[in-house]
Chain length 257, copies 2
DNA sequence: CAGTGGTCTAGACCACGAC
DNA sequence: TCGTGGTCTAGACCACTGT
């Protein structure tokens, strides 16, 4: 812990400081939730300028190892409770769709769920949603944006797009979609749901996403774009989800034959 | 582009500079691959100290929007070619397992694939692999580590664990696993493969992973842990994969019933 | 060589949190 | 009030890239 920096190393001073701290964290010498030495203490210990100590801290933060709190200090990050999203969540026998499913699932996990409806309305389809729905660009769609929380903490942002021809006149177009959620409404319109295709990516959040999900710096997001198809192979809904990566594990099941 | 900073704003100067640049990038005024103003130019334009200009640049880099090259400048990031990983890649009719599958898939995509075998040997199972394989902790397993590349660029790191009782005496324990890869060898040992379970997460890379995958700062990794089960429900292999998130889209298919 | 980003120093003042 | 991190300045020297 009190090792000095190696002036002969070609590794920069701030990297060496970060290395020391990282080792201490990985060795458990600074446990999750515990506080790191303050920037002024690091200046003293390593005889470095404050900027150099800050660079070391900043590096560890970008690695997602620590988080800083203004006026309090820097702390080793604790792994927060994660939500496991199961591959079979859309099977009809489980279906209790959308919001209701989320609420029930979190309740049984002993957490307090909350769903905020951010936007419900008719709008021209964004290019990628139009493509997935096999619509003309800027064809009219129902847009539903919402934010899911657990214990007051944001978990994911989701935006659904449904062709207006399917959504029109149904309870989908209202804040409360009714029993069974939008999938039930879609089936009532004669589109029996057959399968879902999901595309999974990961990236750093935009500033807006970081704010809406209250992400600490260094936490990526998982993007899932799900397209629902009816029994005739027509796409009937696209749902674009952005999840806080430190709060999710997605599980899938693949047949071998 | 030549807007001055707003001194009345409570947004910090470096954030305002970053905002300006981000808008210019999103508006296409600075196209992908194009160079941003140099730090000294930003100092001039905004009448700021160099450290302030650097903080703005650093913020955009941590967002994954730009990358910097020592001695050259800062550039808007181009989206690299991605590999789409399909949900049905383990169906027996497609199977041409592991490395062979990767090689064939990349060839047809017009890219030059490469597989490096980093380690093949017998070792005690790490805790999480042992748990997934339903083995005693530190039971003996075959460990196979490799790195996959495309056009000379690293794509993913993968480590497979197979119970030693299954691997022993087979070609799995050698660098070249033989036709059909390790899944073929496992089936020859009487374990018919039935299904695969995948767990997907995303996080920032460790320094070692960043190096091995040649990741630019601000690029997360996707972690996939796949467990293969035989027809009697016994786990026969665990494969832990770490992918460069900017080079992958995973696709899955979910039945509705 | 000139121009770029990378590292580092030694200060300063501010905003926030806990006591 | 004091200690924390957040922002900012005005320098310096170095390493790398391209001409």
């Amino acid at each position: 812990m009190l090792r000095p920096l190696d002036p002969t190393s070609d590794r920069s001073r701030y990297r060496q400081i970060a290395d020391h701290l990282r080792e201490a964290i990985n060795a458990g010498e600074i446990a999750p939730g515990e506080q790191l030495p303050s920037e002024r203490e690091l200046m003293e210990q390593y005889d470095a300028a404050r900027g150099t100590a800050r660079q070391a801290i900043s590096l560890l933060r970008s690695e997602g190892l620590i988080e800083t709190e203004h006026g309090r200090g820097a702390f080793v990050r604790k792994r927060p409770a994660v939500r496991r999203v199961a591959h079979d969540r859309f099977l009809r026998r489980h279906r209790q769709a959308g919001n209701a499913a989320y609420l029930a699932e979190m309740e049984t996990a002993g957490r307090t769920p909350e769903v905020e409806i951010l936007e419900v309305g008719r709008a021209p389809a964004p290019a990628d949603a139009a493509e997935r729905l096999e619509l003309e660009e800027s064809a009219s769609v129902l847009v539903r944006r919402r934010r899911y929380l657990a214990d007051g903490f944001p978990m994911e942002l989701a935006t659904s797009y449904v062709p207006w021809s399917i959504a029109e006149g149904t309870q989908m177009t209202e804040a409360n979609t009714g029993p069974g959620g939008i999938y039930a409404r879609i089936e009532e319109r004669g589109h029996q749901l057959e399968r879902f295709a999901e595309e999974v990516t990961a990236r750093m959040p935009s500033p807006e996403e970081a704010k809406a999900l209250r992400l600490m710096p260094g936490v990526p997001v998982i993007g899932v774009v799900r397209t629902a198809y009816d029994s005739e192979g027509r796409p009937v809904e696209v749902c674009d989800t952005v999840m806080a990566a430190d709060r999710y594990v997605l599980t899938y099941e693949l047949p071998a034959r």
